[in-house]
Subunit: 245 residues, 2 copies
DNA sequence: CGTACTTTTGAAGTGCCTCAACGGTAGTGG
DNA sequence: CCACTACCGTTGAGGCACTTCAAAAGTACG
């Protein structure tokens, strides 16, 4: 049977873990609770003294500006931490909420500190996860600044599919994507109306299909070519291909 | 005499350091070399096995896309690391180059690891610096996605001034800002022509002045109000005001 | 079979882009 | 001391991507 724990599946991609590290990581996931869709886990300005870890379902992070506009700054998939080490900064600069029903663990800072202190490989793997998050953010910024909305949307879909594949939660050309078009717009920095037009455009070009919260890609290579998607930024080594078996 | 080492000045804001940590940090800065303006320190795709630390001057990080377009993803000021712990990921996803003549230290990964291993406060301060970098990135993404170009430019100027003040390299209402308008455009995700119009607009409104690589703000509070700038995201505690004394 | 929500469509407006030229300024060499 | 050069900033005009407002059509659920 394959490993089902998304955290272990994800961190395995860091190349930093050995088999004996699996047990302490699995221990971390013990106190999971179920959270309903639409629950706000962390509110902008909240004091932070621990970290949320998503084990199942989808969540997202967003900032709300003074003018009421909202920017989504990240999607949390199974295996993702909300804001690792965020407690150092005292208060959160953004909110986090669930998109679907989620299975979430809350870890007090001391638990994380204790684990990383005694296990350097896990500490390294967590740094790796933080760096990948940073890369995703830099990629979002670059795409938003330099690409047209259709390419940007295609790129997001490629990334979303690839990330889910890394934790064994996606087929070769399909995955869950529980985002309304308004939320897609808040990711790409465009209006919901325009997001709709871009989704429809990519659908008409037979590049992808988003229907009832599921993304389907008829030809993954064709979509990747269209938006020049290069999955290497999600992985440790640039060339190493082949996610979960 | 005030502390002149920008690294120490910066990390002092983390609240994690004691006076005895100053010495090992000062030691880090020993092997500095002078680098000419326009030098590429790290190239997209380069293997990473250490980190650059800027002690004087300005540098920037950027990504170049397949279509030739460029997005600037960060400005390095004195006291800033290029990509802390980046060696975990093997290769860089972006390039780094100097804007001005710079004083730069290159630290092999082992040096950083050795220091953080024996000094938890410094390890914590470095995490803090990484988290602040993340916040800046999230702020850029949010602003680019949700604000008009003029407000976005004003916000960048506020941030730039505030960051320089934190390392004692700026007056109360003026600082160096060695960016051409084309580069300002690459930061904000707009064309150089439009960047010019925005600079001129803010100048006409008497909100700021950018001339011969120097930013001057006639009324800092007025500019901050205009773009709803809240410096708390650059600091550890939300309310704590008053940078270096 | 109504209610609430999401997606789709239309139409008019605007922010930003591209192309292209002109102006300012500082450095360089005759 | 004055061209000349190179580079950056400024300006204008036309076009397109994206926005806003508003309404209709589809979908899920009780």
């Amino acid at each position: 049977m394959v490993e089902a724990n998304p955290l272990i599946l994800k961190l395995a991609h860091s190349g930093a873990l050995t088999r004996e590290d699996h047990r302490p990581l699995a221990e971390l996931c013990k106190g999971a609770r179920v959270v309903e869709a639409g629950t706000v886990l962390v509110r902008q300005g909240d004091r932070i003294d621990g970290v949320h870890l998503v084990l199942d379902g989808f969540a997202y992070r967003y900032k709300v500006l003074a003018n009421g506009r909202r920017q989504i700054i990240g999607i949390l998939l199974p295996g993702d931490f909300n804001d690792l080490q965020g407690s150092i900064l005292g208060a959160s600069d953004h909110s986090t909420a669930t998109l679907t029903n989620c299975c979430v663990v809350w870890l007090p800072q001391e638990t994380v500190d204790a684990l990383t202190l005694v296990n350097n490989r896990i500490a390294r793997a967590l740094w790796w996860a933080t760096l990948v998050d940073q890369r995703i953010l830099r990629s979002w910024l670059t795409n938003m600044g330099q690409l047209s909305a259709d390419v940007c949307l295609a790129h997001f879909c490629c990334e979303h599919l690839a990330r889910l594949q890394m934790v064994g939660r996606a087929g070769p050309d399909t995955c869950d994507m529980p985002l309304y078009q308004e939320q897609l717009g808040d990711i790409l920095g465009i209006s919901d109306v325009h997001a709709n037009r871009m989704v429809r455009e990519l659908r008409a070009r037979n590049l992808l299909e988003i229907r009832s919260r599921v993304l389907t890609v008829p030809d993954v290579l064709k979509l990747q070519t269209f938006c020049k998607f290069d999955p290497s930024y999600l992985r440790s080594k640039p060339v190493e291909i082949g996610p979960s078996k």
